[in-house]
């Protein structure tokens, strides 16, 4: 008996199967993300009567009745305005504190630096529900409950790790020699930062600010627990979810998702940079 080896698959067959798997995987992931979004927008942009109908249209009928209903719903505009205020304040707070921390991490050696970096990420390890009750009690005592500032503080805490890490990688990408050159050319440390580092880091800082905005915009738990009158849009929708008709839910969902999607798309390059994927 001679050795009979099973015929090896031809290389091009292997390549074809591999390519098929590759594209199938990509297709699956894309559908995973896109189908809910499509579903949301098709329903939001269709007439209320169409929302419960089946089969779905691939393309919405662009009937604005749902959105109009949503817009005129009692308290929506106020909640939207609150959302914007909280998100902007979150953005300012998290960049105001996060960017200096990121700069310090990238430029200075200090004892406990590694520990600090871990600590920054650890703040995300505590589940918010665990913190909510003590926070609520503390906020009521200090009078921060049900205020835009109070909620923005909590959101800033959520956004801060990302602000620190994004700006850290941002500043680390700017050669320290550029700053040193500026010092030898007559700059103080602060002037060198303003004239050399800031212009180079500005797009990235803007991106990390937008990311903080989105985190606050999408956050629902703290918003629902810590506010009563001054609800943000997410908390407002959550509260009125079980009493509102289906078209309102879809319209509200779309209103929430759209800004977040646009912003994240605009700053995607910097988010990749944060995770260490070079994308330039």
């Amino acid at each position: 008996m001679s050795d009979v080896t099973p015929p090896a698959p031809r290389p091009e067959e292997v390549g074809r199967a591999g390519r098929f798997l590759f594209w199938a995987g990509i297709g699956l992931l894309v559908l995973w993300v896109l189908v809910p979004i499509w579903f949301l927008f098709v329903n939001a942009l269709s007439a209320p009567s169409e929302v419960t109908s089946f089969p779905k249209r691939l393309w919405p009928s662009f009937d604005m009745a749902s959105l109009q209903f949503f817009w005129n719903f009692q308290g929506v505009t106020r909640a939207l305005w609150n959302s914007v205020k909280v998100a902007v304040l979150t953005m300012i707070l998290s960049i105001g504190m996060g960017a200096p921390a990121g700069y310090a991490l990238s430029r200075f050696d200090f004892p406990g630096k590694e520990f600090f970096r871990v600590l920054v990420i650890m703040t995300r390890a505590f589940p918010l529900p665990l913190l909510a009750l003590p926070l609520a009690v503390m906020f009521i005592r200090t009078g921060l409950d049900d205020t835009v500032l109070g909620l923005a503080l909590v959101h800033a805490m959520l956004a801060l790790p990302f602000a620190v890490l994004i700006t850290y990688s941002l500043f680390s990408g700017i050669p320290v020699e550029l700053e040193e050159a500026a010092w030898t050319l007559g700059c103080t440390r602060f002037q060198a930062f303003v004239k050399v580092v800031l212009p180079l880091a500005l797009p990235g800082i803007a991106a990390s600010a937008v990311f903080a905005f989105v985190i606050s915009w999408n956050e629902v738990f703290a918003a629902a627990v810590l506010t009563i009158e001054n609800r943000t849009l997410t908390a407002f929708l959550l509260q009125s979810l079980n009493v509102s008709p289906l078209p309102l839910k879809f319209a509200g969902g779309a209103a929430l998702v759209l800004p977040a999607l646009i912003f994240i798309f605009a700053v995607r390059k910097y988010l990749f940079a944060m995770w260490g994927i070079a994308n330039r």
Partner: protein, 345 residues
């Protein structure tokens, strides 16, 4: 116009001592090269003079001012960095003008100085470009122009040519020498390239392990190394060293040959490879490798079991395995103390 004095400057990074109490004086308008292998402390010393690093102890004087407590901007220095450090968000013009604007010079003066230094460095056609649109050599020129435009007392250069390719390096080296000589600025130049050091320097400070081993004119450093390290670091191929047995009264036996030497207890014989010539009698060299280099031939051999190199005229046929007697030029022989490794005068 500025003389630089470094008095007892030392630097520790944690447990690591980068500089051991260095003393050095650099004359006004002198071109001083700090030469050494990486990690010898040359860049640390330069950065201490620049004010980018604070010394653990000691004083730095520029002119008649003590500057070691001053920030870089108050020291009257300009620096050229190894990676050029050209600001990417500014045009070439604004890069060169950066320090002048910081000094709040009037616009006319800024334009005058930028134009002049740009012409000097042959980059006047690039003034509107950004650093991303420049080649490495052009960025180097911008960095030098930016430093020159400051009209500083001292220019500090940290391996400015090491990122350029070989041909460009040669060209820039000659150009830098001309430009800096004309500017009459005191220059401190850090490099690990001995050819660069020899060709540029008024004086070379050879550094090793955080010490300045020798600070002298290039020919002196080459001909009369103050220590064994200098001889073995400078020169390509480096100096040859052979053990010597004293036979009394300043006579030394080296590989079977007798030479006149210093009247000391112990000494090591040293000779540069190009200071040897084939003769009737000499150090018997057993040839291992022969490398014809055109103008001369590099011979790697063994003398008394020690590796030994000679640079010989290329007209002589030598093959591996030959034993050729090599006679040293008597007044080029140097002697070193085998314990302290210092030169014996």
């Amino acid at each position: 116009m500025a003389e630089i004095a470094i008095k007892g400057v030392a630097k520790q990074f944690g447990d690591f001592t980068a500089l051991h109490s260095v003393d050095l004086t650099i004359a006004d308008q002198e071109f001083m090269v700090l030469l050494g292998a990486s990690g010898c402390g040359k860049t640390t010393l330069l950065r201490i003079i620049a004010g980018l690093e604070t010394p653990s102890q000691g004083e730095v004087w520029i002119g008649d001012r003590r500057v070691d407590h001053l920030p870089p901007r108050e020291r009257g220095i300009a620096m050229v960095f190894q990676n050029y450090a050209v600001f990417p968000h500014l045009t070439v013009f604004e890069n060169i003008a950066f320090g002048l604007r910081m000094a709040k010079l009037p616009q006319a003066e800024v334009t005058r100085r930028v134009t002049r230094t740009a012409e000097l460095m042959h980059i006047e056609q690039l003034l509107k470009r950004y650093s991303g649109e420049l080649s490495g050599g052009q960025r180097q020129r911008v960095a030098v122009a930016r430093a020159l435009a400051m009209e500083p007392d001292v220019i500090l250069m940290d391996e400015p040519l090491s990122n350029l390719d070989a041909l460009l390096r040669l060209e820039m080296r000659a150009e830098l020498k001309g430009v800096l000589a004309e500017s009459r600025t005191t220059t401190i130049y850090v490099t690990h390239d001995q050819v660069e050091a020899m060709s540029l320097a008024d004086r070379i400070s050879v550094m090793n392990g955080g010490y300045i081993v020798q600070a002298d004119r290039p020919t002196q450093v080459y001909r009369n190394p103050a220590a064994r390290f200098v001889g073995s670091f400078i020169g390509n191929p480096p100096m040859n060293f052979l053990p010597a047995q004293g036979t009394g009264d300043g006579r030394w036996q080296v590989a079977g040959q007798v030479f006149d030497g210093p009247k000391v207890e112990a000494a090591e014989f040293a000779i540069r490879p190009e200071d040897l010539h084939p003769a009737e009698a000499g150090l018997d060299a057993e040839v291992r490798v022969v490398e014809p280099l055109g103008p001369h031939t590099l011979v790697t051999a063994e003398v008394a079991g020690q590796p030994f190199r000679a640079v010989l005229e290329s007209d002589r046929a030598i093959s591996p395995g030959d034993v050729i007697p090599l006679a040293p030029i008597p007044d080029r022989i140097r002697w070193f103390d085998p314990d302290t490794h210092k030169a014996i005068q």
